[in-house]
């Protein structure tokens, strides 16, 4: 589904990613872990098409397409979804209106006809249950004045509405209390199918107790320096990142 080869990316002339290789197949959950500043969020941003980042080399193929050729909205149409680390507050646009526009633009791009108001509301009601989000919240301006937990739940709610093939969760757990974390993880798990894949970017192992990864990758200084199964995450939780740094220094 996704194949990243030797990806190098920089921002404002500073190189952050220094040759990433990663392959994700349908049905898989990959966790990207790493210390602060290792390039985790950069990777997520490059996948979603954030324009501030310059791709200096390497390729990303997604469903046999050159992902780097696509505008952010085209990536969304093709089924990529980024749950933001810091969801943006947008005054004056209600979540409902925004989502209706988004859902219908995505549907149009996929050759489906627009949802009418009734089916849209029905769809919304179903998906709201998934993340236990309140209707009142959705009629308010998008993320404006939302708590951290509400914003993250809203991200997963949007994900549920847009039904992505590849979801990238960027630090979705940072700043969440355990209850909110459980709700968010529960939502993600319910959305999981054999056809879609998830990349979980996180600093903390805790999230991986609830969203169990098939693969764990450690990103350090712009490269994936270690890959393993979920036990790697536990090891990291136990020993921190220093042993990896030492291991690398020893090579």
């Amino acid at each position: 589904m996704l194949k990243i080869e030797n990806l190098q990316a920089s921002i404002e002339g500073k190189q952050i990613l220094k040759g990433i290789n990663l392959e994700v197949k349908p049905g898989e959950v990959h966790a990207i872990m790493g210390p602060n500043g290792s390039g985790k969020s950069t990777l997520a941003s490059v996948l979603a098409g954030r324009e501030e980042y310059e791709v200096d080399g390497g390729t990303i193929s997604y469903l046999d397409k050159d992902l780097l050729e696509l505008a952010p909205e085209e990536r969304a149409h093709a089924g990529i979804f980024l749950a933001f680390q810091y969801p943006v507050e947008i005054p004056g646009v209600s979540t409902t209106n925004f989502l209706k526009t988004a859902v219908n633009q995505v549907r149009a791009a996929r050759g489906l006809k627009a949802l009418d108001a009734v089916s849209f509301l029905k769809e919304m009601k179903e998906k709201m249950k998934l993340v236990d989000i309140d209707q009142a919240l959705l009629s308010r301006a998008l993320n404006e004045g939302f708590s951290g937990g509400e914003k993250k739940r809203n991200e997963i709610f949007q994900m549920a509405m847009l039904e992505p093939k590849l979801a990238i969760l960027d630090e979705t757990d940072s700043g969440l209390d355990i209850d909110a974390l459980k709700i968010v993880a529960d939502g993600v798990n319910k959305l999981k199918t054999a056809d879609n894949a998830t990349i979980v970017v996180t600093h903390y192992q805790r999230l991986l107790d609830y969203i169990v990864p098939d693969y764990v990758h450690v990103l350090y200084q712009g490269k994936i320096v270690k890959s393993g199964d979920k036990s790697l995450a536990l090891e990291l939780e136990d020993k921190g990142y220093d042993w990896i740094k030492e291991e690398l220094a020893a090579v």
Binding site: P72, A76, H77, L82, G92, V93, F98, T101, V103, Q105
Partner: protein, 437 residues
């Protein structure tokens, strides 16, 4: 060789010949008009150093574009032509001005005269209605503004609207029809609105201009709002690139009253709006909202002030600007809270988005507070569209142009909160969207 005369002299000489043609020597209005031109002569047009017109060199603009000596021929707007432009609300008053003069015959009045008095503001009205004599040309500082004095001197066939005690009135639409086909018209529409105690009045003004010639519109609305009454005045300024307009709204509020203005500016050559509210009583609410969404070379200058003289009143002002291409915006908002006006709540905000490198905005909030137990805030922001917000919307599958339009539309729509009329709201929303492309 003819002597070069300055614009003030030209205006005054024009007045001197005009007044005798239009008003007999025993006219009561004539003496008021003569004193207005004297006052104008004394004040003069704003000089280059005028702080109030710092970013809008109005005198130079007038000198360059208008000749006050030109004699005007008759405008051509037929009754049916006017009617075809009325809003579709039938159970409402539709009042027609042509080149600044109220044309009763073209107007459609449905309100019972026991609720709403709508009549020509002429010599008869001025003689018969004591409050006109008492207030015309005097409401909240109109007498110290050169353009308000010009308006008072030159207006002909003005409009007087009075809401009777406790009347809840039907919507009133005022249409300014301007004909600049064969000559360059200078119009002086004058409107006086009185809300008697406990009444409610809602007025919406819109302008239609035809012809290629430059037009100048000097418009003054005076409003006296009695105890517990409410007056709302909304203006839609969708002019031509040959339109120059200087417009004033002057309100005087009594206790427990509410006054609202909405000013939506979309197009024109130069538009200057003066909105001044005087709250000389307790428990009043004054609202001033505005949107200027402009492009090309349109220049819009909003000069506003609210003066709190008594305690326990509230004022709120929100102006939003979206400026593209070479558009120029100016905002000046004054809030005065006088020593007696304790427990005043006064809020002001002006937010701007510049869509091009060549659009400009000069914004200046001014608070002068003498009372010590008040809540006041003001703020102005100027920026571009939030890139992160655009990316957020795009990452959800919304195309870039649509994402921008969505954000700008949301930004602009905040200025519509106090617009209660669905027809006008729909129209304004339509213009906003249309301008966003």
């Amino acid at each position: 060789m003819s002597e070069v005369i300055n614009i003030e002299e030209s205006i005054i000489s024009r007045f001197n010949s005009w007044i005798d043609q239009h008003y007999p020597s025993d006219s009561a209005l004539k003496s008021l008009k003569k004193s207005a031109i004297d006052k104008f002569e004394e004040l003069g047009l704003p000089s280059r150093k005028s702080e109030a017109y710092k970013y809008t060199p109005i005198t130079k603009i007038l000198e360059k574009n208008f000749d006050f000596q030109t004699s005007l021929s008759s405008p051509e707007w037929t009754k049916s032509e006017c009617e075809s432009n009325f809003y579709t609300e039938t159970d409402a008053n539709h009042l027609v001005f042509i080149n600044g003069e109220f044309i009763e015959d073209y107007s459609k009045i449905v309100s019972a005269s026991s609720d709403l008095t709508i009549r020509l503001l002429d010599d008869h009205a001025f003689t018969e209605i004591p409050e006109l004599k008492e207030n015309l040309g005097k409401v909240n500082g109109t007498s110290i503004d050169p353009f308000a004095n010009l308006s008072l001197a030159f207006f002909n066939q003005g409009l007087y609207i009075k809401a009777s005690r406790n009347s809840d009135n039907k919507n009133t639409y005022i249409y300014q029809f301007i004909d600049g086909t064969n000559f360059s018209p200078i119009s002086f529409p004058r409107i006086f609105i009185k809300g008697d105690s406990g009444s409610r009045t809602r007025v919406y003004e819109k302008t239609y201009i035809k012809g290629e010639e430059k037009s100048l519109n000097i418009s003054i609305v005076e409003s006296v709002v009695d105890a517990n009454a409410e007056v709302r005045f909304t203006k839609l300024q969708q002019y031509l690139t040959s339109t120059y307009s200087i417009e004033g709204i002057y309100a005087q509020q009594s206790k427990d009253s509410r006054f609202y203005t909405n000013t939506f500016s979309f197009k024109g050559a130069v538009i200057r709006n003066n909105v001044y509210i005087n709250i000389d009583a307790e428990n009043c609410e004054g609202h001033m909202n505005g949107l200027y969404q402009i492009s090309g070379k349109t220049h819009v200058d909003n000069n506003t002030s609210v003066d709190h003289l008594k305690p326990h009143s509230y004022s709120n002002e929100l102006y939003k600007g979206i400026l593209d291409e070479n558009a120029k915006g100016v905002f000046n908002g004054k809030i005065y809270v006088r020593p007696d006006a304790q427990k005043t709540n006064a809020f002001q905000s002006n937010n701007n988005i510049l869509l091009s490198d060549t659009a400009t905005i000069n914004t200046k909030p001014q608070l002068e507070i003498w009372a010590d137990d008040v809540q006041c805030s003001h703020g102005c922001t100027t920026g571009q569209l939030d890139k992160e917000a655009i990316f957020y919307l795009r990452s959800r599958g919304i195309e870039k142009t649509r994402a921008k339009a969505l954000l700008l539309n949301a930004f602009a729509n905040e200025a519509l909160v106090e617009l209660q009329n669905d027809l006008v709201k729909e129209e304004v929303e339509g213009i906003i969207l249309n301008k966003l492309g």
